[in-house]
């Protein structure tokens, strides 16, 4: 190890300063950029949620106007999905995947930087709408023809559609990158069935992204043609069918749900075995279930549309396919529980969040199966029951999983532990807060309280439960503050962490914390699943298998460059010009082309 470090003097120290971040192509630094940007958007989306809950704390309140309320719930959903949860997952893809597969970086480091910058600019552009004439106000799934120029005048929907198109570029570029990284850059011996489950789920998620995002791209393009070129793709008066939007949107939207949950499932498939000190039970079943879920993701979209009235045949098909998805999901849950069985469990903060994930996700999954039945769904659709359901899967599932990952990989990323006591407070406050917030929504929904309505009458029996929801939301806010305090305190003064603080089995724990820029002094050779555990069990003859190979004499580290950021700026300016004037699009196109050409002809 030391010889390798000595052989690489210049970049080892880790450059500092703003430009070193702007021009970085190191996947670990890009992960940090993703993390803090997405977390900032997460806080923004959280503030939007708090204002929503203040408005709904009692009947007939006027914290915000009806129009502002519409903007808030639209931007809350859009922000949390596209600017918080997806990029937080991307942060983990970036940091963990190359380390887990035994690679020195992703397949295309500069494309990786480009993905991040497009995400940042797209997110800023979307939120620019608040100060540039009003945010979008048609819900995160923007149903036609509410989004038409007639019903949504102003630029809100334009910001929304163009912002999502821009963010799509980021997600697609990242997905191509991770597919190639995982398929092509695995260390010798790491067959696909030895691939850690988190990397597997990253691969599956990336395939979902590349197949789902083009569909929403087309839907958004058609919408923009309607709004800006006077076409009638979603105008019933011209013979068009607004339900086409719903089909296109949910053909994307349902895979998107799995794009949000599969990475979290991958995270807890790493956390549970480590803290139960047992290999994941039924590894092939967990992997194949993930793949099966992804296949089914494209065959269930119309369960979001039972109330459209697609007819009994379509409804039956989509009811059955939706119920079928519960099978691989259940398989995963049983495997996680079986992993714990007989293990020597350590209740670290990461483990608590992983266990919280299982419990909360089961609740969200069960209410999901209820929606799969069209008659039940007709009763529940557009009520708070649905809001309760998807917050149990996205908050109780995705977010708890992401928190588990944060506590788990923080020592690897920073060389310091997070504070476990604060972590425990964070977990319990989050768990109590989310159940206070979202559990009463089941009952509110069944009592008939509709979604997306800015207030309610005082005599409907909604008052107490809504107050409880609001109190819960503020408990979540407090828990988040505890986490932020823990994060910054641990970054500065956390207990130093060794290379393998938890006794993990995957390759990222074989290298120093934080990892050197080139990750592996010598590319490891892998002899099985959980290579580090394998190595501990076997004798010294095997020891050289996963570690201790002779360091490579020459390690090529890609040079920092500002070109990805420049090209990303151009990409973001092109759609911005459709709102602010076509001259801006022209500048954007020129900047983008310049960036891409320079990039293509600059050797890495």
């Amino acid at each position: 190890m030391t010889t390798a470090a000595a052989a690489l003097p210049a970049r080892e120290a880790g450059p500092t300063g703003l430009w070193s971040w702007a021009a970085t192509v190191d996947h670990k630094r890009i992960a940090v950029l993703y993390y803090f940007t997405a977390f900032a958007f997460f806080l923004l989306g959280g503030v939007e949620a708090l204002i929503i809950r203040l408005q709904l704390a009692g009947p007939g309140r006027h914290v915000v106007s009806a129009q502002a309320y519409n903007q808030l719930f639209t931007m809350h959903g859009t922000t949390m999905i596209f600017l918080a949860l997806m990029p937080l997952s991307a942060s983990f893809f970036n940091f963990v995947v190359p380390l887990q597969v035994g690679a020195r970086d992703v397949a295309f480091p500069r494309l990786n930087a480009f993905s991040y910058w497009v995400f940042l600019f797209g997110g800023l552009f979307l939120n620019l709408s608040f100060v540039a004439g009003g945010a979008p106000a048609a819900g995160w799934f923007g149903y036609a023809n509410l989004t038409s120029g007639q019903y949504s005048p102003g630029h809100g929907i334009d910001f929304w559609a163009l912002g999502l198109l821009t963010l799509g570029v980021s997600s697609l570029a990242a997905a191509f990158n991770f597919i190639v990284t995982i398929v092509n850059l695995r260390a010798p011996g790491m067959s696909l069935m030895r691939l850690p489950v988190f990397s597997w789920m990253t691969l599956v998620t990336s395939f979902l992204i590349i197949l789902a995002f083009p569909i929403i791209t087309v839907a958004l393009i058609l919408l923009m043609f309607d709004r800006m070129a006077g076409t009638h793709f979603f105008v019933p008066a011209a013979g068009a069918d607004p339900v086409l939007w719903q089909h296109l949107f949910w053909l994307f939207g349902h895979p998107e749900v799995y794009i949000l949950i599969l990475p979290a499932m991958g995270i807890i498939s790493e956390v549970l075995p480590t803290f139960a000190r047992r290999p994941l039970f039924g590894y092939p079943f967990v992997v194949y279930s993930g793949i099966f879920i992804a296949f089914l993701a494209f065959g269930v979209w119309s369960h979001h549309m039972f109330s459209v009235g697609l007819g009994p045949v379509a409804d039956s098909f989509f009811a059955l396919s939706t119920m079928l998805i519960a099978v691989p999901t259940g398989v995963k849950i049983f495997n996680w529980i079986a992993t714990l069985w007989g293990g020597s469990i350590r209740f670290t903060a990461a483990m608590k969040f992983a266990l919280g994930f299982i419990a909360m996700f089961i609740i969200g999954g069960l209410s999901g199966v209820m929606h799969a039945s069209p008659p039940a769904d007709l009763q529940q659709t557009d009520t708070y029951f649905v809001v309760a359901h998807f917050h149990y899967v996205l908050f109780g599932g995705t977010l708890l999983g992401l928190f588990a990952g944060m506590y788990y990989w923080f020592p690897k990323a920073t060389g310091r532990f997070m504070d476990e006591r604060l972590g425990s407070w964070h977990f319990w406050l989050t768990l109590v807060g989310m159940n206070l917030t979202f559990f009463p929504m089941h009952f509110l929904g069944l009592l008939g309280m509709p979604r997306r309505v800015y207030t309610y009458a005082g005599d409907l029996g909604f008052n107490t439960m809504n107050l409880v929801c609001t109190v819960g939301a503020f408990v979540i806010a407090v828990s988040t503050l505890v986490f932020v305090a823990n994060l910054f305190r641990s970054l500065r003064a956390g207990r130093p962490a060794p290379p393998d603080p938890w006794g993990g089995g995957t390759l990222e724990w074989s290298i120093p914390s934080p990892p050197p820029e080139y990750n592996f002094a010598a590319i490891p050779e892998v002899r099985g699943r959980d290579p580090l555990w394998l190595e501990q069990r076997s004798g010294p003859a095997e020891r050289r298998g996963a570690r201790g190979l002779r360091p490579d004499a020459h390690i090529h580290v890609p040079a920092p460059t500002g070109l990805p950021m420049l090209a990303a700026l151009g990409v973001a300016l092109v759609p911005a010009g459709l709102i602010f004037g076509l001259w801006l699009s022209a500048i954007g196109a020129a900047v983008m082309l310049f960036g891409i050409y320079r990039w293509a002809f600059t050797p890495i």
Partner: protein, 196 residues
């Protein structure tokens, strides 16, 4: 050529070149993009409330010629790739220029077709057929245009020494894109023009 590519790049798990793999993934994604556009066209087929309708306006003989031109450009693309893989830069330049010119001929045909349709009253705003037709074929045309720029860039870069037999892979990937755009056109030509 594969030994050249392997020499230039580090070992990969599959033996496939990473950029080629990424490009195949990109083309997979593009299938869904055009699939959605084509589906939109098919869903709205016959739903226009006013004319002009496809049967009155589509000129199959004319478009058959431009389809033939585009298909021939796939052949010249193959010849260009064969040229650079064998180190014959002259052959490469002739055929890559021919491919780009055939692409431009196709685009010229599309401009002529579009303007004659507009003269006959088919517009983006007029009816659903116009909207779906122009957006679908327009996006295909934009893809061909991007391809033409790409091909000319390779042609120009071959004089500066940046495109040489060692990086025939650059040409191969451009070729994948070009063939893909051709294949999409075959689908569009069949579904939009031939099956009315």
């Amino acid at each position: 050529m594969s030994h050249l590519a392997v020499a230039a790049e580090p070992r990969t798990s599959t033996g496939l070149h990473s950029r080629k793999l990424a490009f195949w993934a990109f083309l997979g994604s593009e299938c869904l993009f055009f699939g959605s556009l084509i589906s939109t066209y098919l869903v709205y087929k016959g739903k226009s409330l006013v004319g002009p309708y496809p049967g009155h306006i589509l000129n199959i003989p004319f478009t058959s010629v431009s389809t033939f031109v585009l298909l021939m450009s796939s052949l010249t693309m193959v010849l260009a790739l064969a040229g650079i893989q064998r180190g014959r830069m002259g052959q490469f330049r002739v055929w890559i220029a021919a491919t780009a010119l055939l692409g431009m001929t196709f685009l010229t045909g599309q401009v002529i077709e579009f303007s004659s349709f507009v003269r006959e009253g088919l517009t983006l705003q007029g009816n659903l057929f116009g909207a779906t037709f122009f957006v679908l074929t327009g996006f295909h045309g934009a893809h061909v245009s991007a391809g033409v720029v790409w091909l000319w860039s390779l042609f120009a870069a071959s004089f500066g020494g940046r495109v040489k037999p060692e990086n025939a892979l650059d040409v191969e990937i451009a070729g994948l894109y070009w063939h893909f755009v051709d294949v999409v056109w075959i689908a569009i030509f069949t579904l939009v023009y031939l099956i009315q």
